[in-house]
């Protein structure tokens, strides 16, 4: 066999292998972005824990470099005890947080090179979404999906027009999550109203819906799909514990 034939065979073998990897064990790599206080971190934490529950290797990365409140830092240890690798600053190791901005933890720059599933929590609205640009390889990563989290009870994303306009401002978005709620005052109508709006926005934007989220307590009344036929991803609230 000559050299070029050998090379060709190698390439074919590699492609086959690559295909098998894709088929059997593609890593799940997702970046959660969206309006300020839309629930990005809550969805990211719940997604990471769900993946861990499937016995997968999971890294959860805190890429909120603006907001000193409601980040993953306060529950870092708790999540690590559940077997997730959490890349986030420890608050006491930061200096002048919220006063002078923050830098990303150096290891976050290379987070996409890690093995296994990677969930990126990217905070602070449209401006925060640009933090993804600081992550090496984010622009051409094979498996990365950028997911916009939408809460239609947030005043700036409460009408169809506003949602469509807002998602366009975010730049690249590969999927939408309807995370419509009113905190403790959430009821079924709140969630379904969000599901309807996000479904319409999805059509206008040509971006698929990944899921509707709902608190565990709606499991019986809401079931497996929302009124628009999208799957419901049931979550627990971890973020109220992360105020500071």
């Amino acid at each position: 066999m000559d050299l070029s034939a050998n090379n060709k065979l190698n390439i074919i073998l590699m492609r086959l292998l690559d295909f098998e990897v894709k088929l059997l064990d593609n890593p799940i790599v997702e970046a959660y972005i969206g309006e300020y206080a839309s629930g990005k971190s809550e969805v990211a934490v719940n997604r990471a824990l769900w993946l861990k529950g499937q016995d997968r290797k999971v890294t959860l990365a805190d890429l909120d470099i603006v907001e000193p409140f409601y980040t993953l830092r306060p529950i870092k240890k708790h999540l690590e005890e559940k077997g997730i690798t959490v890349l986030a600053w420890e608050t006491k190791k930061t200096m002048g947080l919220g006063e002078a901005g923050n830098i990303i933890k150096p290891e976050l720059r290379w987070v996409l090179k890690r093995e296994g599933d990677i969930i990126l929590d990217i905070g602070y609205g449209v401006e925060g979404a640009k933090t993804l640009n600081l992550v090496y390889g984010a622009d051409n990563h094979q498996f990365l999906k950028v997911i916009a989290v939408l809460n239609c009870s947030r005043p700036m994303t409460s009408t169809l027009e506003d949602i469509v306009e807002f998602v366009k401002e975010l730049g690249r978005v590969d999927g939408l999550v309807n995370n419509t709620h009113l905190g403790d005052d959430t009821d079924l109508d709140t969630i379904q109203h969000g599901a309807e709006l996000v479904a319409k926005a999805s059509k206008m934007l040509g971006i698929p819906i990944i899921a509707t989220t709902a608190m565990d307590r709606f499991r019986i009344s809401l079931g497996e799909t929302d009124c628009a036929g999208n799957p419901v991803f049931y979550i627990k609230r971890y973020m109220p514990h992360t105020f500071w």
Partner: protein, 361 residues
């Protein structure tokens, strides 16, 4: 251009800072002046995102002294204007607000109290109570509403514009970093839809007509030459302030009628105190909460009534005795013992309050 920022009513999920920005819009504010500081920033961020849609304006100045003075300029020109700040920014804001007291300029200032002294933390405290009530080189002739939740931030921001323009004293909404950043649901509404009539603004300068013949000349002063002149002006201001006081004073009481232990707390700390009262009452303990909503003017007579009846008073605050000072000044002569639970720069929980009350039983 959209007609009204909020039509009728709308239930939403927001941070406290957003509640303030929307409330200012609903109240008909025309311009915000500001300089960034945590935890206030999102009031500016959301104002600048929403306000242009309704033809409203924003000016970012070079510091808080300028933000305060430009705000007064806006008001003198007849605009409903406001500003918002925190901590060291609140310190700088006192000079313009002193001028507002002297010249009776109805400015509205939202304070998101953070840790002090100096830069300290961006998080939270109740250490701006004294500063907000009595800052500046004057007599503290201002209205200060201390809010406890998002609905109140919304309600009292609207009310602040009306109180300011009705009584012509600078008016503060005193929140804190916790309220700024917390997320809660609230009902936003168009004040008109609830029958709240907004007081019209009017210019202090460039009024129509010829000064001296059609109208009195506008003579706006914050400088006087003689001691006697100043004395007369101050006494007139104080008289007006005291006349206004009974009309604006606000407070909330919970289980105070038969309370043997009376808790005193304001702002977000009153939520922890209220939680404690509810649980302690279930245990059969006679505990009540008195919460001043206006810290300036202070609900003096109302507090005296309950303070006199109680066997013990517990002052709970996230500062080292700033509310305590107000309480003692206002109930002077009443001999009920007062105990402190001071947590400067730190949040207070229901459990802690319960523990402190039990030490007194």
């Amino acid at each position: 251009m959209a007609a009204k920022p909020i039509e009728g009513e709308k239930k939403v999920f927001v941070t406290g800072n957003e509640a303030v920005a929307w409330a200012a819009l609903a109240a008909g504010a025309e311009i915000m002046y500001g300089y960034p500081i945590t935890p206030q920033n999102e009031i500016m961020h959301y104002w600048t995102r929403i306000a242009p849609k309704y033809g409203k304006k924003f000016l970012q100045t070079e510091d808080e002294i300028s933000a305060g003075f430009t705000c007064l300029g806006g008001v003198l020109a007849g605009r409903k204007a406001f500003t918002a700040t925190a901590g060291p920014g609140n310190t700088l804001m006192q000079e313009p607000m002193s001028m507002a007291e002297m010249m009776r300029i109805p400015s509205v200032v939202v304070i998101c109290a953070r840790g002090g002294p100096s830069t300290a933390t961006v998080i939270y405290s109740q250490q701006e109570t004294t500063l907000t009530c009595y800052g500046g080189n004057g007599e503290g002739l201002r209205i200060v509403y201390s809010t406890a939740n998002h609905q109140e931030l919304y309600d009292y921001t609207i009310k602040a514009f009306n109180s300011a323009w009705k009584y012509r004293f600078p008016t503060f909404v005193l929140g804190d970093g916790y309220q700024s950043k917390m997320r809660e649901s609230l009902v936003m509404y168009d004040p008109e839809a609830r029958g709240i009539e907004m007081v019209e603004s009017e210019p202090y300068v460039l009024k129509p007509g010829v000064p001296g013949s059609d109208r009195k000349a506008a003579h706006l002063r914050n400088t006087y030459n003689m001691e006697d002149e100043l004395y007369e002006v101050i006494m007139e201001l104080v008289k007006d302030f005291e006349k206004m006081a009974p009309e604006v004073v606000e407070y909330a009481v919970h289980d105070c009628e038969d309370a043997e232990i009376l808790l005193l707390a304001h702002g977000v700390v009153s939520r922890a105190a209220l939680g404690a009262v509810k649980l302690l009452r279930q245990e059969g303990l006679k505990v009540g909460l008195f919460r001043p909503i206006t810290l300036r003017p202070f609900p003096q007579e109302e507090l005296k009534k309950y303070a006199q009846k109680a066997k013990h008073i517990l002052v709970v605050e996230s500062a080292h005795g700033q509310l305590d000072k107000l309480v003692k000044e206002n109930i002077y002569g009443i001999t009920t013992p007062i105990s402190p639970y001071f947590r400067p720069g730190v949040g207070v929980t229901v459990e802690e309050v319960i523990q402190e009350v039990k030490k007194l039983v």
